[in-house]
Symmetry: C2
Subunit: 214 residues, 2 copies
DNA sequence: TTCCTCGGATAGCGCCACTATCTAAGCAGC
DNA sequence: GCTGCTTAGATAGTGGCGCTATCCGAGGAA
């Protein structure tokens, strides 16, 4: 498969594919001679993943490169690779520790993890970028005077744990060993828009049931 | 309160506040004379909401203007205002109807709503931007060969319905009538990062429990 | 009167995801 | 071989977005 074929089968322009190659999101094709390179189904699949991450998941190109780099790092074991890939995903701003809303948010998040009994997350808390994102988001809500505390968040945490269990079950039954890391990344990034849309739909539905459409 | 005070109390630079005023995200202050305008706590609160939408919720400025316009539209009843505001939120790309993955995704989403018994959503389906977003996201997953069908999504839908019920309960108990529309917007936009972070944390936690940290 | 500060208008910046253009090498048909 | 089209690769440019820096004239304080 040549670049033009890859473009046709993926629906991505050759110019954009070249851009992804330059940026290291897509491994180079097998060079046949000075003007021809050969691509295979693996390239096609990777290209679709890249597009999904960037367009559906809104992941910045630089972040996608980093994440995919971890996915491909054969020198690491599966668990580490997965962790590293997920670790690289969030790109939220640093919280401003001088802001009292941030301090309060951190306290509540720590209490939340204790309430939920998420020991691993508590241990990793000081380092985890996801933990940081949560603090930033909670701080923003508290700044708007919403009493968003650990007790209030705990049921949400439980529900998301149920969601996560489903994700992992699905992963175990449907993905081959080789695909699991890739699938976990897809799950973390692409299930998100699905969950968000379902959440909004559920809000609309329940709101209509409670208050009518008017 | 003058512009400089508003800036100090919110932590947003005067240049940025002026930008928001220009863009209509913030109503103009009460003009005292040619060189002075007076702002009040309402402005401060609105400014914080704007920052939260843009920075935490990643809502584009143009979309935020539209959403806030609906929130402020006193000519409409509460339910309509809320619906209009939420309706304006998602800004996903149009699905390409010629793509078979999109067609298949639409079928599965329609089946999903039937399975869940979400009648309101089914009725509004052809118009709703949220519905469209869901189709786009599911199509992306299907293109990656994940067998993402109605039966698989239904439990996620049930879980998100539980989340939505909590949202609405919270809204009923904690928000005054006047704040409800604003709060619903905040819920739709700002709970999202919280849910996402909880989801990721739950994935990490459950993954560590199942497979160890290694 | 002098100087500083204010609000408002305008133009510009920096980042990012592409995209258009150019070049030289190959290959197909004659 | 020669012509002409296509290819891969390099480089510079584009458009949108969220600010941000600068300038201007009006007030207010010393």
């Amino acid at each position: 498969m040549r670049l033009a074929d890859l473009s046709k089968r993926s629906g991505v322009s050759t110019a954009t594919i070249k851009y992804y190659l330059r940026e290291g999101l897509l491994p180079p094709g097998r060079q046949i001679n000075a003007t021809t390179a050969e691509y295979d189904d693996g390239h096609l699949r990777r290209l679709r993943l890249v597009r999904a991450l960037i367009q559906v998941g809104k992941v910045p190109v630089a972040t996608a490169r980093e994440v995919l780099g971890h996915v491909d790092d054969e020198s690491l074991g599966r668990t580490i690779r997965l962790g590293a890939a997920l670790w690289a995903l969030p790109q939220d701003a640093e919280p401003d520790e001088a802001d009292p809303a941030v301090t309060a948010a951190r306290t509540e998040v720590d209490r939340l993890l204790e309430l939920l009994g998420w020991e691993t997350s508590r241990e990793l808390a000081p380092l985890s970028p996801v933990h940081r994102s949560l603090v930033v988001a909670v701080a923003a809500l508290r700044r708007l005077d919403y009493p968003w505390d650990a007790e209030l968040m705990a049921p949400y945490g439980e529900l998301m744990m149920q969601v996560a269990r489903r994700d992992l079950d699905f992963m175990e039954t449907h993905a081959s060993e080789a695909e699991k890391v890739e699938m976990a990344v897809a799950a973390a990034v692409l299930f998100q828009p699905v969950l968000r849309a379902l959440h909004r739909l559920a809000q609309e539905e329940e709101s209509a049931r409670r208050y009518g459409i008017e």
